[in-house]
């Protein structure tokens, strides 16, 4: 009998749901019973909502199993080995079985994620078997000129995937035009947006693709050294990057005279970030690598002229770099066939929030938000109604349900007031309070403001105070105009992207959900029943059995009543903690 292939998806989110235990258990039984299987690990297929995942490839087909436990995984391989049948009830994707889950993977175009979930990220050989390092080798063997490489990138229409959307080819051209003995290429892996994990999955799943992208960049721009600035919160990504760099050095792909080309010296080091959102901004990132407080500085000079250690530097995002080898290999037009007129290619999104199938997807630009959320993401769970989609994290905005036809491309998304951002896509349903969401993001940006510009430092604090007041029922109607005015001022008078975009979550929620703000301010009500201080608890007399449970848990003794008699809540004393509501066994407490 032929060997069957078993693959366990071991990335950060897989490990969090127990993939490591599944892998260890399988390895034990494979060794103990000497089973006729090949067991390997991979990372980042992106189906986070079904993790831990186990893929079985046998002579009949490919079966991806979800929600695995060590015991279930054992059952699955025994079923394949002994009975030669798949355990259909756990299959989440297969080329042999039709299921709605298939769309999550089948509707994707995977270019940046081409190897994620396919190869073992800790083995350079597997990357090479999947066309790895072929792009740089073809550049060197055909002796392609700098102009040639940059032209290909420009023709592909690739734009910075970190959120800015600046044409990558042009950025490379600027850096290439500055002649210097020392020149740097920096990979920005300081993915700080809460709710975004695209870069982490890419680094964990296919680190060599990022290295190859950097080597090609070095060749095109004449860079002499590379730095990957990665969040310290991503230990697995850092570990796999270091393994990849070590392997590439051993093969002669990094170091001196790499790929056997005399004079082509290039090395890459990993720098660990220390936890500051603002370091995603290029000048702050450079300051941080230099060992300073990560505060942005005025541009010009742009990093392309004077960046790290005052040398010309180029900074690209992880996803941008992972696309490069593919573009070189398949040609600019192959990449540009996807997407819209101004936004070419594909984009990776991290789907999260109130969505059935949360995870990582790569879709062609120009697809509508609706398609992403419903076709790939499987819609909103529990028959709830979708309220908005948040794009771009703390710098982005909320796109309401009636604009779900919006195309995913830089221009269309910006027109709504949100930004494309790095790819965090958080779905919100009717139970999400938009004022609370705006407050949440502003609280984040206020904490992360480096404090250099007054408008960002003080302005975000004032906006947060106003928003907090509104969620506590202390708002007045003028507050909305104050927020709008402050927001515009902060956008105008901040130096870097953090301040210039920080008011976006507030401005877009006011634009599309002004009625919710007004409900908080005028009616003192939170329509989604989220803002605690605006809730009103009452006992439904018909349902109350007088069991006294509520009176016992009430921390302020606001509930009174005799045993087996209807109880009452003293609204003066009630602090809206919700304990009585949680504890009541008879649904006798209403909340409004």
């Amino acid at each position: 009998m032929e060997h069957i292939q078993l693959t366990v998806d071991i990335g950060s989110s897989g490990i969090a749901s127990g993939a490591g235990k599944v892998y260890d258990h399988l390895r034990t039984i494979v060794e103990k019973d000497n089973l006729a299987v090949n067991l390997k690990q991979t990372s980042g297929i992106g189906m986070c909502y079904k993790e831990p995942l186990l893929e079985v490839v046998d002579a009949d087909g490919t079966y991806l199993y979800g929600d695995m436990t060590p015991e279930l995984a054992e059952e699955v391989i025994h079923s394949h080995l002994k009975l030669n049948v798949p355990l259909k009830q756990y299959v989440v994707h297969s080329n042999r079985i039709q299921s709605d889950h298939n769309r999550f993977l089948d509707d994707q175009i995977r270019i940046a994620l081409r190897n994620c979930g396919v190869i073992d990220p800790e083995k350079i050989d597997e990357y090479e078997q999947h066309n790895g390092y072929k792009a740089i080798q073809s550049i060197l063997s055909e002796n392609l000129s700098t102009e040639n490489i940059i032209q290909t990138i420009q023709d592909s229409g690739l734009r910075g995937r970190g959120g800015g959307g600046f044409p990558t080819g042009l950025k490379w051209k600027f850096a290439a035009n500055n002649v210097a003995i020392e020149k740097y290429i920096i990979c920005n892996a300081d993915e700080g947006d809460p709710g975004a994990f695209m870069d982490r999955s890419l680094l964990e799943g296919d680190p060599h693709a990022v290295l190859e992208g950097m080597i090609i960049g070095a060749r095109a721009m004449g860079a002499t050294a590379g730095v990957i600035y990665c969040r310290a919160e991503y230990p697995l990504a850092i570990k796999r990057l270091n393994i990849a760099i070590h392997q590439a050095r051993e093969k002669g792909y990094l170091g001196k005279n790499i790929f056997g080309v005399t004079g082509f010296d290039f090395n890459i080091n990993v720098k660990e970030g220390a936890g500051a959102f603002v370091c995603g901004e290029e000048t702050a990132l450079i300051a941080s690598i230099e060992g300073k407080r990560g505060m942005p500085r005025k541009r010009p000079p742009f990093p392309a002229a004077s960046g790290l250690w005052n040398k010309p530097s180029n900074i690209n995002n992880v996803e941008t770099l992972a696309n490069i080898p593919w573009i070189i290999q398949h040609g600019a037009s192959a990449y540009a066939q996807y997407g819209t007129e101004k936004s070419k290619g594909t984009k990776v999104f991290a789907l999260a929030g109130k969505i059935n199938r949360g995870g990582l997807v790569e879709v062609p630009m120009g697809i509508s938000l609706e398609e992403v959320v419903n076709n790939l993401g499987g819609g909103v769970p529990n028959n709830k109604k979708l309220k908005a989609v948040q794009l771009g994290g703390p710098s982005g905005g909320c796109i309401p349900e009636h604009l779900m036809h919006t195309k995913v491309d830089y221009e269309s998304v910006t027109a709504t007031g949100a930004i494309m951002g790095s790819g965090g896509l958080v779905v919100m349903d009717e139970d999400t309070c938009m004022v609370d969401v705006a407050r949440f993001f502003l609280d984040f940006t206020r904490k992360e403001s480096c404090g250099k510009c007054t408008f960002c430092r003080v302005g975000t604090k004032r906006m947060l105070e106003i928003l907090t007041g509104i969620t506590e029922g202390k708002g007045v109607i003028e507050d909305i105009d104050k927020l709008l005015e402050l927001g515009e001022q902060i956008k105008k008078n901040s130096l870097c992207g953090l301040g210039q975009t920080a008011p976006n979550p507030v401005l877009t929620t006011i634009k599309y959900f002004r009625d919710e703000y007004e409900a908080h301010i005028i009616d003192k009500k939170c329509p989604a029943a989220v803002c605690k201080q605006l809730l009103h608890y009452e006992i439904i007399e018909d349902k109350c059995t007088g069991c006294t449970v509520c009176a016992k848990v009430c921390p302020t003794n606001a509930i009174s009543g005799e045993r087996k008699q209807v109880h009452y809540i003293d609204q003066e004393k009630c602090i809206q903690c919700g304990e009585c509501f949680n504890k009541c066994n008879f649904d006798a407490i209403s909340v409004s």
Partner: protein
């Protein structure tokens, strides 16, 4: 703003006798002359002690020539660095966007009640430190918290409380 206030009270005196500063020697030897070494040195020190002891600042400044003001400036700028000792188990409650809309606030409150401390504090027995973090990146498991290297997902108030109670029981 990120800058933390300097605390005037010296409840927890950090004398040199409490921490073995010689543990830092290999680290300083390797990084002393490297360009941009400030952050890696602080990260290394925190890896050794779990926080940045006051005495370590003086030792770094003495032996590398880095300025005390720069060291302190960087240590208070970045969220990663701590100036106080932490508990054996650091409970990180995720407050990323996905966790926030799935009610991470309740998890934090449940932890505060169970541990009897506020966010950012350490229990008296030095077993737990409670922190809220921006995003652990396991958004599809929201709400999430992390204790040590272990991640716990799909939490509610009760299950979260149960987890720390169990750790506390095992520690005793």
């Amino acid at each position: 703003m990120r800058v933390k206030r300097v605390e005037p009270n010296t409840k927890q005196p950090q004398t040199a006798s409490k921490v073995d500063l010689s543990l830092m020697d290999p680290l300083i030897t390797t990084l002393r002359k490297k360009r941009g070494n400030l952050i890696p040195i602080l990260q290394g020190v925190q890896r050794i002690y779990g926080y940045l002891p006051e005495a370590s600042f003086y030792k770094i400044a003495d032996e590398t020539g880095l300025k005390l003001a720069d060291l302190y400036g960087v240590a208070t700028f970045y969220a990663q660095f701590r100036l106080k000792p932490v508990g054996k188990n650091i409970v990180k409650v995720c407050h990323g966007t996905a966790c926030h809309v799935q009610n991470a606030g309740k998890i934090s409150r449940s932890m505060e009640d169970t541990l009897g401390i506020k966010d950012g504090e350490t229990t008296e027995d030095m077993l737990f430190t409670l922190e809220s973090v921006a995003c652990l990146g396991c958004c599809s498991l929201a709400p999430v918290m992390m204790i040590g290297d272990e991640t716990y997902g799909n939490l509610d108030q009760k299950s979260a409380a149960k987890i720390v109670k169990e750790i506390r029981r095992n520690e005793k």
